[in-house]
Symmetry: C2
Subunit: 190 residues, 2 copies
Amino acid sequence: MRERILDAAEAQLRRHGPAKTTVSDVARALGMSHANVYRHFDSKAALQDAVAERWLSKVSDPLEAFVTRKGPAARRLEGWVQALAEAKRRKVLEDPELFAAYHAVAEAAREVVAGHLATLLRQVAAIIADGIREGEFKVKDPAEAARAVLSATIRFHHPHMVRAAAGTEVEADIKAVMKLVIAGLKAGAL
Amino acid sequence: MRERILDAAEAQLRRHGPAKTTVSDVARALGMSHANVYRHFDSKAALQDAVAERWLSKVSDPLEAFVTRKGPAARRLEGWVQALAEAKRRKVLEDPELFAAYHAVAEAAREVVAGHLATLLRQVAAIIADGIREGEFKVKDPAEAARAVLSATIRFHHPHMVRAAAGTEVEADIKAVMKLVIAGLKAGAL
């Protein structure tokens, strides 16, 4: 039922945007009372947070494969950045209006966004920690290094930047930045 | 006279925003005919381009000091990034509405923005070329490396990112990213 409500909320969001998506509309679309929706989400904010959370999980869940996969950490880290950039880029290109609506919801859901960022940082730190353990990277603090890697690649995954760059090729730029970053990790710059 | 017209256009921009800033208003503010303004700028677009160009020059001109200065290229490059980030940050914090107005003008003035980016790339490439000449950096192509450096530091200087981060501390993040980037340049990653 929770998933069905989120599906209906997503459909409303797509059609009317975040400001005009109400719990009553979502309930009506599902042919249920809004008391019923409130049993699962106790406010419009809670419902929108859940929509944003599910949306962001669809970005971060597939990236987990790069964390658990075997192989050199440098290659997995580059793959992780490319996959994240590609996921964001696809969302913008496929449906810019829906992306804008989701983005507005995510902007309001600050805790959800912070949780998403924490997930991304944890994934990158885990790959870097593997690299340190294998002697591939010489940095000391995986968490600090992960923060620097996310900063250095923000052009390729931050919604503002992805929207601004929609339609331009960034593959070569990702490769060049990752060469600098990985050389820095190998040299123990941090 | 050209400078006086630009000052008046800036004042209009500050008060009314880019959409409502007209050549007639600017002329009226200066007590001259708009034919007189048109003698210097042959359209509203040309006037706004010139305003954007002057604004962006105020950002890039002081950075030239890091290009001509003596000393290790790594330190000059880091200083250049910090000074650029600080200039952008100061503009946002001092007057967010004016920053937004300028940003809108700059967005419309695509050639002017491209020229500004070309200036920044030239400055960074010149510092990197010095580093290569002195044996400090091992990268091959200063232009390619400059592009990667600007990409990797975009969080600290792109208007979208600077506005989103207004009020947060980024000094430590700049230092961490620059450690990775400079180690990459020293290792000859590109």
